[in-house]
Symmetry: C2
Subunit: 355 residues, 2 copies
């Protein structure tokens, strides 16, 4: 495994890659249904929830679409301060919902007071928030936003995209009163892409029953009926579920708190390195991601030339996302990445900068 410092698809441990290679089973067999059920139940711990977890054969965006189609009849508020929050807004619009965008600068967190104001005024069925913006390395204060929404508009559902944070930074679904938290396999879970996981609250499920035009593939009410029989409406992505089953075991062996601490220490190391090298961090202090750091390219590094240099050492980082390309670059420190990998990367980057 040569370390990639890109924010997903991340490197997958060899033994986890191998776990995919298990022989097939009929998906309606007791053998597979047991694996499916146990895996979904064990995954609850990642979300700090006792609520149901759905596993879909899709990317995380599939569950963004599921959230919109199942929990919004008409009006949704989308908090947007990054590319993936903007995508969720787009998903809502393209699914024919009346979606209002509450925008913030990309280098500013979503402000709980402004969200409270908006939900008080707007009669929204749900609000969407991205926990950890993969595009900017900014972590939004989901707990504070949720508190504000609960006070201002207690019936409004709180939908959270934790694609690049779940299992890498703590997010307590039940304690914070969140209604849906979704993630995908190829980020902090350090699995290949192709699976998405979504935990859903009881009141959100009740709401879904009343929402029309939920479709079929992402209809959570249909999924729930099958889930209660340890099954799924469509054929699940079995080899990825075998890998998930195996990887959950590894994650719980490390321990979630230890995992968060590992990520947090790597984030701190990268931040300090950047600042010591005359480059500032894109996200403001207090809102910096534990899983991916976006650095302002204040030394005018040619990112593709840097990456060519790094590739000679079997490493690579990510350029800035979309409008931030070349203006920033990103170093991911999630999944299997260890402090020693980060040390090696920063040493190589220093060598490049000295050239």
């Amino acid at each position: 495994m040569s370390p990639m410092f890109v924010p997903g698809p991340v490197d997958v441990a060899d033994e986890v890659l191998q776990a995919q290679a298990r022989a097939m089973l009929p998906h309606r067999s007791k053998e597979f249904e047991t694996i499916y059920k146990d895996t979904a139940e064990r995954a609850q711990q990642l979300f700090y929830t006792k609520q149901r977890v759905f596993i879909t054969a899709s990317s995380g965006t599939g569950l963004q679409e599921a959230a919109i189609r199942n929990f919004v009849s008409k009006k949704v508020l989308c908090c947007v301060n990054g590319a993936f929050a903007d995508r969720w807004f787009e998903v809502a619009v393209y699914n024919g919902k009346e979606a209002d965008e509450l925008s913030f600068e990309w280098d500013e967190p979503v402000n709980p007071d402004r969200v409270a104001e908006a939900v008080k005024a707007g009669n929204y069925e749900a609000v969407t928030i991205v926990h950890n913006e993969t595009s900017t390395g900014l972590q939004n204060p989901v707990k504070e936003i949720a508190d504000a929404v609960h006070t201002a508009a207690p019936d409004t559902l709180i939908l959270v995209d934790a694609v690049s944070s779940l299992a890498g930074a703590k997010l307590e679904m039940d304690a914070w009163g969140l209604d849906m938290v979704l993630t995908s396999s190829q980020k902090c879970l350090a699995l290949p892409p192709g699976l998405a996981l979504g935990a859903v609250s009881e009141r959100a499920m009740k709401k879904a029953e009343k929402v029309e035009n939920r479709g079929w593939y992402f209809d959570l009410v249909r999924m729930e009926k099958h889930r209660l029989k340890d099954s799924s409406p469509a054929t699940p992505a079995m080899s990825l579920i075998f890998a998930l089953e195996y990887q959950l075991e590894r994650i719980f062996q490390e321990g979630l708190e230890n995992r968060f601490a590992r990520h947090s220490a790597m984030a701190k190391r990268v931040q300090e390195w950047a600042e010591a090298n005359d480059q500032s961090i894109y996200a403001p202090e207090g809102y910096r991601s534990q899983t991916v750091t976006t650095i302002r390219n204040e030394r005018g590094i040619d990112i593709s030339s840097l990456n060519n240099f790094l590739k000679e050492h079997d490493m690579r980082i990510a350029n800035g996302y979309g409008q931030l390309k070349n203006k920033t670059f990103r170093i991911a420190h999630m999944g299997e990445t260890q402090m020693s990998d980060i040390d090696e990367l920063l040493k190589a980057m220093e060598a490049y900068l000295k050239q």
Copy 2:
């Protein structure tokens, strides 16, 4: 690999399972984009088409939903003579379309004349047909139906589910004038589940541009824009695509025509065995599937007891689907299954029947 004679997920060859275990790459890298593009282009041969092939991280039902959301603004005709055709109808209804069901007995093929009558009268934007009904082992005369629709209502799009036949039985998309043909990975392609492939005609793409509320995840217009840049809007299921790339090589090495002949010979063998053992075939002569045979359980076999017996020999067959459970049973002969496997199965079944 112990042979399973169930109609998907089917057994996957060890070396194909292993192909999934390749290390990850950034999905927006040239390395991966080249694999993605080449694989989608090679897959055109499976469809006998020069049209674009989309690869989605979903089951086949996901592409049933894509077909409905992209090609139908309002009215669709669904030809139904089995459980998966019925599912497609349901997908249309749950996506808010005005869907009309043209029903046939499950042991009768879809009748081209009746389809022609219906499309002439109904002003439908599209008609849905399942090529090979996994639930009944009946193969519908798609070419004849397509001819009838072309004559009766030339503007009506022809959408075909070939989930359990593509790469196992010949279906010529371009020669027959089909507008979308979809399949999934875990049937005749003999891959793990989690990928769907859909080939789409030029006129269908033009139509999609005018259809509203296509959503995001299955929006084919969005996928097409990305496809032209060798990419996909959402993160693709990379390990499954590695396996697809590898498996296509194996399929073309065998040769498609040889593959069809192998399936057809196994179908004939199973049909003759059933009839020689006082059990008739569910599908009528002339409309029998090459990939899965459904046998009427006229000897009153206890299917689960039979399967327990077979499992002792590392084999298993499938019970009848839904309403046909215990009244029929199914023997699949698709993917990697060889005539010698079928011989072994039938020998074991005879041993069971003699008990």
